[in-house]
């Protein structure tokens, strides 16, 4: 978590860029390992990969403090890791183990962590939006200078929840940063086939919410926009909306044969791979010697190996505990 406490990027720009790069590489390699483990049937259920979208998680989380809250979706491994949930706890959750961050009850789609104020992991599209507004309402009523970052996809903009929530957040001027990850597809349906108005920032703005559209493949641009938006939200001027233009390189889920996308389109977006973009930029600026990148990759690989080993060795939650956590455990009962 230490690296998450918003080092001002101006000082030590190159160290900070390396942090952002490391975060994106961690997410990428973690998920690549998830693919292998899924194929080996070690991870089951639905698995929605974030590969290609890493700049959004890394950039936005870098603008938050540990006191801020995060509400996420079912495609949240990247959010969870960038927020500081230990990769071992995330992997153990996907293995359905007791040491998982949701004690094996959530799986890939429902990662939770009280320590980092990570409120899921919501598999209902748009379902987290009102909850984020409520968290922000609590902060506002209790006088806490805290921001709630709420992630959702472009698909959620077609849900009623989006409209009800933006109206309420704007009406009550609540401290929410709405982060719309526009990866152009709601499951298998392209945005122009699902949304009458595809300029999503415009739709947020129609509720009086200040909205920007950002290149979601450029982690530095995401971070800049997120810092500015978080500062504005924290100053009490009400919610902000960021439309982060991004792309998932993999299918919607591991079950998805991905027949609805043009191969050329995917290839085009791959040229804007957020990791390649940042490494290229750092190389151009003379900030990334080859051995630094190799060391970074080796350190990440070791971290993921350790996470998998941790998950592997972790105990299963006893079946006798099946019905725990349905209601609060009363003392003496």
């Amino acid at each position: 978590m230490s690296k998450k406490s918003t080092v001002p990027p101006a000082a030590g720009a190159s160290a900070h860029r390396l942090d952002l790069l490391r975060e994106m590489v961690r997410i990428r390699r973690f998920e690549e390992r998830c693919v292998e483990l899924y194929s080996a049937a070690r991870i089951r259920g639905f698995l929605h990969l974030y590969i290609g979208e890493e700049a959004v998680a890394a950039g936005v989380m870098s603008a938050l403090t540990p006191a801020d809250a995060v509400v996420s979706t079912y495609r949240e491994h990247g959010h969870a890791l960038a927020r500081g949930i230990p990769p071992g706890a995330v992997m153990a959750e996907m293995f359905g183990k007791a040491a998982g961050c949701s004690r094996g009850r959530g799986g890939s789609m429902h990662l939770f962590d009280a320590t980092t104020r990570f409120y899921g992991g919501n598999a209902i599209v748009g379902g987290g939006l009102p909850v984020a507004v409520g968290l922000a309402l609590a902060d506002a009523m209790l006088g806490r200078p805290v921001v709630t970052a709420c992630f959702f996809g472009d698909g959620a903009v077609a849900e009623g929840e989006f409209h009800e929530t933006l109206n309420l957040a704007a009406l009550w001027r609540l401290p929410v940063l709405f982060c719309c990850e526009n990866n152009l597809y709601a499951m298998g349906t392209a945005i122009e086939r699902a949304q009458a108005v595809t300029d999503l920032a415009k739709r947020a703005a129609s509720y009086g919410v200040a909205a920007d559209t950002v290149d979601g493949m450029d982690v530095l641009a995401v971070e800049d926009a997120a810092r500015a938006a978080v500062a504005a939200v924290r100053s009490g001027t009400g919610p902000r909306f960021l439309e982060l233009l991004t792309y998932r390189f993999r299918a919607h889920s591991m079950y998805d044969p991905d027949r609805y996308r043009d191969k050329a389109e995917i290839a085009r977006w791959r040229q804007r791979d957020p990791i390649t973009l940042l490494t290229g930029r750092m190389r151009d600026d003379g900030e990334l010697p080859d051995d630094t990148l190799q060391e970074l990759e080796a350190a990440v690989a070791a971290e993921i190996d350790a996470a998998v080993a941790f998950a592997d060795e972790a105990a299963e939650e006893p079946v006798g505990d099946l019905t725990r956590f349905v209601l609060a455990e009363r003392s003496g009962s």
Binding site: A69, G100, C101, S102, R103, G104, R105, G106, H110, F112, D113, A114, Y119, G120, G121, N122, I124, G127, L129, P130, V131, A132, V133, G134, L135, A136, L137, A138, D139, M141, L142, T148, G160, E161, E164, T165, N167, L168, L171, R324, F325, V326, L327, A328, E329
Partner: protein
């Protein structure tokens, strides 16, 4: 002892909770300026201000979800939904978030939220304002579902609900708000885990809750004239269900009739009936009887609505049937 209406008892419980705990606040449609669609929150805006008596847009899903988030964030929200019919617009938030977050998070996040809503027919409001869907909610693990039937319980059960660390849904039958009754001094906090015997009797157990308790008690009076001594049980809490009180009573009376304003198919009465069968089959001298709402959307016309809803005469007939059996 003080005499007040069911509406006033609800208001008193909210007022006392808000005075005692700064984290408690009320939100919903028309709860502030208007004073509540059923007048429950009248005067509270003046006392507590618009931050804590918070009018919302007509956005059930957003304001119920906001209640969930606020509860996660450390507040103790009371959310008012006008009727159970409208709660369906927030069903995703209630079921997929409020009821599941504790379990999905492995016990890390609880949702201490109270959702109040009216239920039931009898006021000629037609289908979209008259249904009784509390049985559906009682199906869902992670929720507590309560239905205060008396004025004392209106206050005492709401007070207890606000102490509960889990989401509590309170179903207030629309026909009860004007009913007057006595409430004990003090906070009169009710035990949310226990059903109560409202009228002791020897010959048959009539199980009711919420709006049907009055129906059952009226029927019991009529039955007394017929020489049948009916015991009336008020379930009070639909989830978790207090089987023990029901089974204990059936073990004494050996006959049971369940009264429920839900439709018969898949009704809450079906659940109660099944539990009696599972746990007290050999105590029974007759099959369990059920009095439910006719399988129609509730009609507007008074005579049709009355014909659709459980009436004391229907309970009386059903009791005679099980008492006359064998």
């Amino acid at each position: 002892m003080t005499t007040m209406t069911y509406r006033e008892a609800m208001r008193e419980a909210i007022r006392q909770a808000m005075r005692a705990d700064d984290r408690v606040f009320l939100m919903g449609e028309d709860v502030g300026r208007y004073g509540g669609s059923f007048g429950v929150s009248l005067g509270l805006l003046e006392e507590f201000g618009p931050e804590r008596i918070r009018d919302t847009p007509l956005s059930e899903s957003a304001f119920v979800g906001a209640g969930i988030g606020a509860a996660l964030g450390g507040l103790r929200p009371i959310v008012e939904i006008m009727t159970v019919n409208f709660s369906l617009l927030a069903l995703d938030q209630i079921l997929n978030n409020a009821a599941t977050l504790r379990h999905m998070s492995g016990g890390q996040f609880g949702v201490p939220l109270v959702i109040r809503m009216t239920t039931g027919g009898g006021r000629q409001l037609a289908a979209q304002h008259s249904h009784s869907l509390e049985g559906w909610y009682a199906h869902i693990p992670g929720l507590r579902v309560i239905a205060p039937a008396t004025v004392a319980d209106a206050r005492g059960m709401l007070a207890a609900a606000l102490d509960d660390p889990d989401p509590v849904l309170i179903f207030e039958h629309g026909g009860l708000y004007n009913v007057s009754g006595e409430v004990p001094d003090g906070d009169g906090r009710a035990d949310l885990d226990r059903a109560v015997v409202r009228r002791p009797g020897r010959d048959v157990t009539v199980v009711a809750y919420g709006g049907t308790v009055g129906t059952a008690l009226t029927a019991a009076q009529d039955l007394a004239h017929d020489g049948v001594d009916a015991e009336v049980i008020d379930l009070r809490t639909l989830r978790p269900l207090d089987d023990a009180t029901v089974i204990g009573s059936v073990a004494r009376t050996h006959r049971a009739v369940v009264v429920d304003e839900g439709w018969r198919s898949g009704s809450f009465a079906a659940e109660v009936s099944a539990r009696i069968m599972e746990q007290a089959f050999y105590e029974l001298d007759a099959p369990v009887g059920r009095v439910c709402t006719a399988e129609v959307p509730i009609p507007y016309a008074r005579h049709l609505e009355e014909a659709a809803l459980p009436q004391p005469s229907d309970v009386r007939t059903a009791v005679h049937e099980v008492v006359g059996h064998g």
